[in-house]
């Protein structure tokens, strides 16, 4: 408890220093703007994708829940979504020295090994993008509609487990949201419970 209090005090101090107070966005709000460097060293801005459907996926390759989805499901979803015209941003917010943190070259190698196909793999070691979106777990999923508003935030599916056999049994919440946004329909379940490992943010 004492530790928590200290941590809380630390966070408050950080919040005061930060120029903009950050509250997690809500569905229907404008998606927070960001600029981040991708695994190839290129600078990527959310505004680069204005007018397109953007999917954001928080990752950490050491997390069992991410591993569950990278047994094939995530790669398939990425290919399907980008094939239909969506932009897919995989975001890594693990701080240096924590689980899942890799540099751009390792990220590229890993994506090649896994057959992953995001549009960009964004490196967010200081957690700025993750905190702006209120991302809490890996895999935490967000879908941004072409009008720049947040259309979905939550879990990748409805069964919170690390067991790959649960994927076919679960309601594919993220896939349903992506498909709805791509055809301009409202998302039935626009905010759901995200599940997984906590994101290993920099303190």
């Amino acid at each position: 408890m004492k530790q928590n209090a200290l941590l809380g005090a630390g966070l408050m101090a950080c919040a005061m220093i930060m120029p903009v107070a950050q509250a997690a966005p809500r569905v229907g709000d404008a998606a927070p703007a960001f600029t981040a460097v991708d695994s190839n060293g290129r600078s990527v801005k959310l505004s680069d994708f204005a007018g397109r459907t953007v999917v954001m996926e928080w990752t950490n390759h050491g997390c069992p829940y991410v591993q569950k989805w990278y047994s094939g499901g995530m790669q398939a979803l990425q290919k399907e979504a980008t094939g239909k015209g969506a932009v897919w941003l995989t975001v890594l917010s693990s701080a240096p020295g924590t689980q899942g943190h890799v540099d751009g070259a390792s990220a590229n190698r890993m994506m090649k090994e896994q057959g992953a196909a995001p549009t960009h793999y964004l490196l967010d070691p200081d957690g700025k993008v993750g905190r702006a979106y209120g991302a809490q777990v890996t895999p935490h999923m967000y879908v941004i509609a072409p009008d720049g508003r947040l259309a979905y935030m939550g879990g990748i599916d409805s069964i919170a487990s690390p067991d790959v056999n649960d994927i076919p049994k679960a309601e594919p919440l993220a896939r349903l949201a992506i498909d709805a946004v791509l055809v301009g329909k409202p998302v039935a379940k626009a905010q759901t419970r995200p599940y997984g490992c906590s994101i290993k943010y920099a303190n």
Partner: protein, 710 residues
């Protein structure tokens, strides 16, 4: 084992130690009547416990999963909060039984940056009730399968299977009942009927009742995700008999529906309590954490992970036959070969004498082999019940044992070289035992054969031993006996079948030459053990081992001089004894594990690495090996490190992971158990997206390539 070692009075009495082992075995079965075996990881130790020591028909049993978590590691509450996952429990009970849900203890808040979770840490009891059917006889056989996520900086999903047998009897409180009572005493209690709870549209939780206005602190934990913002700060304000806790509504907040959860309070007297709060409105239906297994589902095999269906085949005789076959094959294993050489030599020596002598010696050898297996099985069982994570060949993980074996083989070599003779008056250390004439010599040759053979688990043997260790103690002893009989059988055949015995060579000068030549495999084996020692204890261990070898050589030479001396033989012999004792001290003081940085190879096996690679769809070949396992080293030499196999790995993108079991490693022990084995070698191929394939224990390049190609 450590307990037996630390008591010096025990050292001289083998019989006492044997009795102690038996006592430990029977006691462990008695004392832990209402507890299952533990499932252990470096993070948590988990058991199924019962509040009652006996089961009666229609009785309500208090069961619980008991977690003992390492510092910093935690599991999750019914609502884990922003991340994590609550444990799940599946109960395999007699037909007609019913289960209740977990009576969750009050959670703690865990803040990790923007992620707030509700957790349990330390010693945690998750109690739930099981109502036994009224039509039930003879006690209860319960099995429980559970899965839980355990996190610190990282998260590991764990699962385990537990078994608990309760004898018939009155369901009076058992030895674990106080633990249940203490948990119940701290569990959240329903609100006093004079109190009322409600929540307003802005998310303020309002409590009205006598004393509510005097609360010193209050903290609310919502039972369901999304009802409140877990991370938001909560403030308590009081007035009159009303307490208000300001919560931040979450994504699924709805003031018209019931808000349920635990309120941790400190009352006017400063007493901390946990209350179960439920506001009016429609309640959320949640999936219970405890479920009954579907009728007809087989209960799981106990342990950290369910091993694949029985080693091979079914029926109680099948493991015994496999063990017997494994025992016969042991004779052909490279580690046994030097001892076979000794035995062949001693047979050659008695070849000219009467057949009955050979027969009697063979029986003595057979008894030596079988007795050693039985003792090993008993010790293994005792150590297992004492809580160590052990597997076959574990004794070679002890540097002191390795050092002593090196000295023993070296001394046998010196004897074969003719440095000293075994006189009838010389009765001392273990090295003399195998060469002693007569029945006791044969007996101890059998013992030595078993001790040296243990690291080389022949094909079939791994499976047989795993089956044995999963079985009741008596069954385990039977399997080990079968192994021993299998190993001793060739000698019995040799002695009892005149046709074979007649082919044995006649004595002559060649025997002396053969004897001298046989010294070199002994020196070779000793050199190999010193190399093993270098892996376990580093340069200091090698120094200790070498000093011990030097002293033994010196003692052997002194003994040889004494044997040739006309007078002062006693003096030489006393000198030999002193040097031998010094050698013993050198062995006993062999340093333990190397302290300092350990080089971790790129291809070193870790469960995380394997999981990562599998998650990425990469095919993986896992080699579980140890420096003291000759079979393993041979397989690496003739199969795994050949260009053909390496090329096949490269061509198919197979990642090669190597687990080194030279020293105890719980991760590797668990991996072995998960594949139904208790020793190395173990080779498992994980194809991309397919089920793992276990390869034979003796490899050729063809075998490996065929497996990864299919």
């Amino acid at each position: 084992m450590p307990r037996a070692h630390s008591d010096p009075s025990m050292k001289h009495c083998i019989l006492n130690r044997w009795l102690l082992t038996v006592a430990m075995l029977s006691m462990s079965a008695f004392v832990h009547a209402a507890q299952s075996d533990a499932v252990r990881s470096p993070r948590a130790e988990v058991r199924l416990v019962s509040a009652q020591d006996a089961a009666a028909p229609a009785a309500t049993l208090g069961l619980a999963l008991h977690f003992r978590l390492q510092p910093g590691w935690h599991i999750y509450w019914m609502n884990p909060g922003d991340a994590g996952q609550a444990p799940r429990i599946e109960v395999f009970a007699p037909e007609g039984a019913r289960v209740g849900d977990v009576r969750w203890p009050a959670p703690e808040r865990h803040v990790d940056g923007p992620v707030t979770t509700y957790i349990h840490q330390g010693d945690v009891l998750l109690p739930f009730e099981l109502v036994l059917p009224s039509a039930m006889q003879r006690g209860a056989e319960l099995a429980v399968k559970a899965s839980w996520l355990v996190c610190k900086d990282i998260c590991i999903p764990e699962e385990g299977a537990f078994r608990l047998a309760l004898p018939p009897g009155n369901d009076r409180p058992g030895s674990d009942a106080p633990m249940f009572a203490a948990t119940e005493a701290a569990a959240p209690v329903a609100l006093d009927s004079r109190w009322q709870a409600s929540v307003d549209a802005r998310g303020v939780l309002i409590l009205e009742g006598p004393g509510a206005g005097a609360l010193q602190s209050a903290e609310f934990f919502a039972a369901d995700w999304g009802r409140i913002d877990h991370a938001a700060p909560q403030t308590l304000t009081t007035s009159g008999d009303i307490a208000r806790v300001t919560l931040a509504p979450g994504a699924e907040f709805d003031a018209a529906r019931a808000l349920e959860g635990v309120l941790r309070i400190r009352d006017a007297d400063g007493v901390e309590r946990a209350l179960w709060v439920s506001t009016p409105g429609e309640r959320t239906v949640r999936a219970p954490a405890v479920s009954l297994a579907l009728a007809g589902t087989e209960p799981p095999v106990t342990g950290a992970m369910a091993p694949p269906a029985a080693a091979a085949g079914e029926g109680p005789w099948w493991p015994l036959l496999l063990a017997f076959a494994g025992g016969v094959l042991l004779n052909l294993m490279p580690c046994v070969f030097p001892v076979l050489a000794i035995k062949a030599l001693s047979f050659a020596r008695v070849g000219a004498s009467e057949r009955t002598v050979v027969r009697r010696q063979s029986i003595a050898y057979c008894i030596g082999v079988v007795a050693s297996f039985v003792v090993l099985a008993a010790v293994l069982l005792a150590l297992r019940s004492a809580g160590s994570e052990l597997g076959w060949g574990f004794q070679f993980q002890s540097p002191v044992f390795v050092s002593a074996m090196a000295v023993l083989l070296f001394a046998v070599g010196l004897n074969l070289s003719g440095v000293f003779q075994f006189g009838s008056r010389l009765a001392s250390a273990g090295s003399t035992l195998t060469e002693r004439g007569g029945l006791s010599g044969s007996f101890f040759t059998g013992v030595l054969a078993v001790v040296v053979a243990t690291p080389c688990t022949a094909p079939f043997m791994g499976g047989a031993i795993a089956a044995a260790l999963a079985a009741p103690a008596l069954h385990t002893l039977a399997i080990f006996t079968a192994l021993g009989v299998g190993m001793a059988l060739p000698y019995l055949l040799l002695a009892f079948m005149p046709g074979l015995a007649r082919r044995m060579p006649r004595p002559g000068l060649w025997m002396e030459r053969l004897k001298q030549a046989l010294a070199f495999p002994m020196y070779g084996a000793a050199a190999w053990l010193v190399w093993v020692l270098s892996q376990q204890s580093g340069a200091d261990g090698v120094l200790h081992g070498m000093v011990a070898l030097l002293l033994v050589a010196f003692a052997a030479w002194l003994t040889g001089v004494a044997q040739g001396a006309a007078d002062h033989a006693g003096l030489w012999r006393a000198g030999a004894l002193v040097v031998l004792v010094a050698g013993g001290v050198a062995i006993a003081r062999t340093p333990g594990e190397v302290i300092g940085p350990q080089v971790v190879a790129d291809n070193a096996f870790t469960p995380q690495r394997l999981a990562e690679l599998r998650a990425s769809g990469t095919p993986v070949f896992v080699n579980m090996t140890a420096a003291w396992c000759v079979t393993c080293l041979m397989n690496e030499k003739v199969a795994l490190s050949t260009d053909a196999v390496q090329a096949a790995f490269a061509a198919r993108g197979v990642i090669y992971l190597k687990g080194d079991w030279t020293r105890a490693d719980p991760d590797i022990t668990r991996f072995l158990q998960a594949h139904g084995r208790d020793g190395v070698p173990l080779y498992v191929y994980f194809p991309s997206g397919g089920a793992p394939v276990v390869l034979p224990q003796i490899l050729t390049p063809r075998v490996v390539i065929d497996h990864i190609a299919s």
